[in-house]
């Protein structure tokens, strides 16, 4: 948007621009019977098994008066935050402070209204901290240190959980894109790398080839290949699963599952280098990974992943050439780095498909459906309508 004051020189907008552009019409009430992919039982399984469990583990040894700090994309109905409140915060009366990003905030449509309403509900919850806020902003703007979004995250200080619950691929933006999730993630990691407490990155992302930027993926996989050359353990491990990959003879893009494993391992290798190269370091560990198939992909191959990365402050690399021994790891070469990459690869190879887990266990599916129904009811959705909608899904 142009600076409206330029032409007039006194900081006031052009009179034409000063006319609000929104139409003069009645607002719409947000629908209570429209459901989304994240309302399915399998997402509840992820919320419970991955997210809430990880958060409990993170906060287990922390003082009960310390509140959970969250940065993320909670969606307009704030379901994830509602779940954290009921499953993690309320049992121990632990506070929650959140900074969310959603472009629907401030908009006048039903999504904006839904967000306003959900935000108003949560703000009256006694455990929600006053400064909690949903910014009308694209989280990718955190990738620029000049942005107000980056500044807002910096002001929040170290957080306990970053939840990037994406509906697209974390590698969807080309390397030279003005806005990219990778840039945003890098800045988030750099702001978090000195966090003295363990913290978690909850990353939900598409993992299919079509949703990703081939340039970005190639750049990362090239880097992975160079790491394999100096890390025989990783080379052996990859070769045992994907014969010919090390010689670059294998078309790992052709099979969706191979693309997923290779691109995610390459992504984690990049993430490791961001967090473990500077003097202040945090060691990333993939503690959990699930795959599932997106709503519109039918019975085709899994194209979504939900990954939990736990970070632990690593004090080994701080340089002190006067009183201490300088310990510097060369990323991709040290045994620790090599072991980490092997672990990432194994985790992605062995990860379960949550659709299969839920659909095979009817009791589990029913419980998850009931839990989701209760949560949606608390978020003002029409529960009978939900039960009708969800009946058509196996997971």
């Amino acid at each position: 948007m142009d600076d409206a004051g330029d032409d007039f020189g006194i900081g006031l907008p052009d009179p034409v621009q000063a006319v609000p552009d929104a139409p003069y019409e009645h607002a719409s009430r947000p629908p209570r019977t429209k459901f989304e992919a994240w309302h399915r039982p399998r997402k509840q399984y992820i919320r419970e098994t991955q997210w809430a469990n990880q958060l409990r583990a993170l906060m287990n040894d922390r003082d009960p008066t310390e509140r959970i700090k969250y940065v993320g994309l909670p969606g307009v109905d704030l379901l994830d935050l509602r779940h954290f409140l009921t499953s993690v915060c309320e049992p121990g009366a632990r506070g929650l402070e959140f900074l969310g990003f959603d472009l629907a905030a401030g908009s006048e449509g039903p999504a904006g209204t839904e967000l306003n309403l959900s935000n108003a509900e949560l703000r009256l919850h006694p455990l929600v901290h006053d400064s909690s806020l949903i910014r009308p902003d694209d989280v990718r703007r955190v990738g620029s240190r000049r942005s107000a979004a980056w500044n807002a995250v910096k002001k929040l200080g170290h957080v306990d959980v970053i939840n990037l619950d994406l509906t697209t691929h974390v590698l969807s933006d080309p390397p030279d894109a003005e806005l990219s999730f990778v840039d945003a993630l890098k800045e988030l990691l750099l702001l978090q790398v000195g966090n003295p407490h363990d913290w978690a990155l909850l990353l939900t992302t598409r993992v299919d080839c079509d949703s990703s930027s081939s340039e970005t993926v190639d750049t990362l996989v090239d880097r992975l290949n160079s790491v394999i050359e100096s890390c025989s353990k990783l080379g052996d491990e990859v070769e045992s699963v994907l014969p010919g990959f090390s010689n670059r003879d294998r078309d790992w893009r052709a099979a969706p599952s191979e693309f997923t494993v290779v691109s995610l391992t390459a992504f984690m290798q990049w993430l490791y280098s961001v967090c473990m190269t500077g003097p202040v370091r945090s060691r990333p560990l993939v503690v959990s990974c699930f795959y599932y198939t997106s709503f519109d992909s039918g019975d085709s191959a899994a194209d979504m992943a939900s990954i939990v990365v736990r970070f632990r402050r690593d004090f080994s690399g701080f340089p002190d050439d006067v009183f201490g021994k300088v310990v510097t790891e060369s990323v991709g070469l040290s045994d620790a780095a090599c072991d980490a990459f092997v672990a990432y690869f194994r985790r992605f190879v062995e990860a379960s498909n949550v659709d299969a887990v839920v659909s095979k266990d009817e009791g589990l599916r029913q419980r998850l459906t009931a839990d989701t129904g209760s949560m949606l009811e608390a978020a003002r959705y029409d529960r009978p309508a939900f039960e009708g909608w969800v009946a058509s899904f196996a997971s």
Binding site: A4, A18, R29, L117, A120, D130, A148, N151, R380
Partner: protein
């Protein structure tokens, strides 16, 4: 009333229908229609009204969140009693006709048994029917999300205001369409929760520009002025999500990220009220951008407690205290008020202040930014601040309430201090039941006596506990000056001011006599003598305002606590040039002359509107003229 009842019934029906009721905001007079279009002069007024509404709703806390520095959206949340569907229907059907202070307020749950009090017993300060629509200053689209305790429903009203136009307006008596409303109830499992959230969507471009301080940054871009010392950053012209780091950096704030909001606000107040070597005239407009100035003004206007202590509840160990006695008041009597003014005089504690209400504005928890300790030191003969306190009860028994509008009662103080910092606190500020619609009135309700110097050394607050409210105009920012309460208040204020000035003059005269005795032994140069003569001629022999000292500042001289706030700070290198060279006789003469000229200029207050940068620029050119060979 019938329309209101029907609307309330329709709102209740939305609980099962899943639909919304679409209706029209109607007003029945042009003046009320204009309310929705903005009678308020600044965006700050809208925030002030929303805070007042939260207070009147018995909230203990109101949280205002912006996405500064972009200002696309504002959310104001409180934990007050909220509004029922009936109350929302009343609001929609009676814009400008507040249910507060009326019989139906009790039925709607917005007042107690006495319509002048909230259900929780607070004396009401706002008029919700008008105050809520003050948001039209900021936006034409907003949402009200409100809930009362003990019910499983929330009421949502989505309002779209219409731009007011003289064209096509109805004749008097016809309804005017002021906007559109969609209203409905949503289920609320948090049965015990209560409160109201106002979401301001899509702020008007003009309001955004004001809150972004665009006018200030335009001048900075053109090198007409320096950036404010403290600011929230400036957005880039072509990318409003980013700071213009080349122009103003991201932010320059006197508090640190992560500071507790209360501590952050105290740091803010300290930074503004502690003069430094580089600020001669600490004005909010020079120190702060619009946003920070607005927050400051809101903290002055809102029903809050003081950043330190209420002056009547403070021990005031470094202040000389006087009591303004009599209804006139007749005299200002020197009296130690131990341990506090309130206890010594039998006055209520925290009069005009509120301890059970807090306002969180982004990073800051607001409190009144007025301090009575660590006040600035100047070269004035009287070093110690003086506090004058008074109380008036006027029953108007002789004229009856129909002519007088009932009794008037207030408490007040006048703080004389050699230098009021910031300048904006010079004057009188009237609080009615703890709230004020204005900042300090520099004219002291149009005080006509020519006491320019001393009036600029006085800050006064009046705490009205009965009356005066009827004298407020609809914007709650100005008064009807013909109202009997305003006339009586003005009369008392002006008389009290003259007592305060007389008392200060007496003390200053005594101190000055002693000072003159000390000074008589000192040799006075010809230029000093000229300055003395000019000051005496301009200000009078008894002028209390002393000739300000000139302080020559070098790059190595730090700022110390003993810096006099009225000193003229001249940068030796900038004004005289020459660096650290040994100074010649001619250079020393130039220095003396420049010093004298700067003091002569201040005799006419000619330097008061200049910042230090401008003063040094001016004096550097004068020095060059002075130094020229004849």
């Amino acid at each position: 009333m019938e329309e209101q009842t029907k609307l309330a019934e329709k709102i209740v029906a939305t609980r099962s229908s899943g639909a919304a009721i679409d209706t029209i905001l109607k007003t029945d007079a042009k003046v009320i229609a204009r309310v929705t279009d903005g009678i308020y002069s600044q965006p700050a007024s809208a925030f002030r009204e929303l805070i007042s509404n939260a207070y009147d709703a018995d909230a203990t806390r109101v949280v205002i969140q912006t996405d500064r520095p972009r200002f696309g959206r504002v959310v104001v949340s409180d934990d007050g009693h909220g509004m029922t569907a009936d109350a929302v229907a009343h609001l929609i059907e009676h814009i400008g006709g507040s249910a507060k202070r009326s019989e139906i307020g009790l039925d709607l749950g917005v007042t107690g048994d006495d319509p002048n009090f909230s259900p929780g017993g607070r004396r009401l300060i706002g008029k919700i029917g008008i105050g809520l629509f003050s948001v039209s200053q900021l936006t034409q689209s907003f949402q009200i999300i409100t809930k009362v305790a003990g019910v499983p429903w929330r009421t949502i009203a989505s309002v779209k205001l219409k731009q007011y136009s003289d064209e096509g307006r109805p004749d008097d008596g016809d309804a005017f369409e002021a906007g559109l409303v969609s209203v409905w109830d949503e289920p609320a499992p948090d049965r015990d929760a209560h409160g109201t959230t106002i979401v301001l969507n899509g702020l008007k471009p003009a309001a955004r520009e004001v809150m972004r301080s665009s006018a200030i940054w335009q001048r900075v871009r053109r090198d007409i002025q320096d950036p404010p010392r403290f600011h929230i950053g400036v957005v880039r012209p072509a990318a409003e999500y980013e700071f213009d780091t080349e122009l103003g950096g991201d932010e320059a704030l006197p508090w640190a990220p992560g500071d507790d909001p209360g501590r952050a606000f105290r740091k803010f107040v300290d930074a503004v009220t502690e003069p430094t070597s580089s600020v001669r005239n600490a004005k909010l407009g020079d120190l702060l951008d619009y946003y920070l100035s607005m927050v400051w003004q809101l903290s002055l206007a809102s029903p809050l407690s003081y950043v330190e202590q209420h002056p009547f509840d403070d021990s005031l160990s470094s202040i000389t205290t006087h009591v303004l006695s009599g209804d006139g008041p007749g005299a200002a009597e020197r009296k130690d008020l131990n341990p506090t003014a309130a206890s010594a005089l039998g006055w209520p504690r925290s009069v005009g202040a509120v301890d059970d209400f807090s306002v969180l504005f982004d990073d800051l928890e607001l409190s009144r930014p007025i301090k009575f300790t660590d006040l600035p030191v100047t070269s004035n003969a009287v070093k110690e601040p003086m506090l004058f306190v008074g109380h008036l009860v006027e029953d108007f028994e002789a004229v009856g309430s129909s002519r007088s509008a009932g009794p008037l009662e207030f408490y007040a103080y006048f703080l004389w201090t050699p230098k009021v910092v910031p300048n904006d606190h010079i004057g009188s500020l009237v609080r009615i039941h703890g709230a004020s619609g204005t900042g300090f009135d520099e004219s002291f309700f149009r005080y006509q006596v020519a006491e320019t110097t001393r009036l600029r050394q006085i800050s006064c607050e009046v705490f009205v506990v009965r009356g005066l409210e009827g004298a407020l105009n609809i914007d709650r920012e100005t008064y009807n000056f013909a109202h009997p309460h305003v006339v009586r208040l003005t009369n008392w204020l002006h008389t009290a001011l003259s007592r305060v000035i007389q008392a200060q003059k007496r003390l200053a005269s005594e101190v000055r006599k002693a000072d003159r005795a000390d000074a008589s032994a000192r040799q006075v140069s010809a230029t000093e003598s000229l300055v003395d003569d000019l000051w005496a001629e301009v200000r009078g022999r008894d002028a209390d305002s002393p000739i300000p000292p000139v302080r020559w500042v070098s790059p190595n001289s730090g700022s110390g606590a003993s810096i006099e706030a009225d000193a003229i700070n001249l940068h030796r290198d900038r004004v005289l040039g020459g660096g650290n060279m040994v100074r010649s006789v001619q250079a020393l003469a130039t220095e003396r002359k420049v010093k004298a000229i700067s003091q002569m200029l201040t005799a006419f207050d000619l330097l008061d509107d200049l910042d230090d940068e401008e003063i040094n620029l001016l004096m550097s050119y004068i020095a060059r003229v002075v130094a020229m060979e004849v």
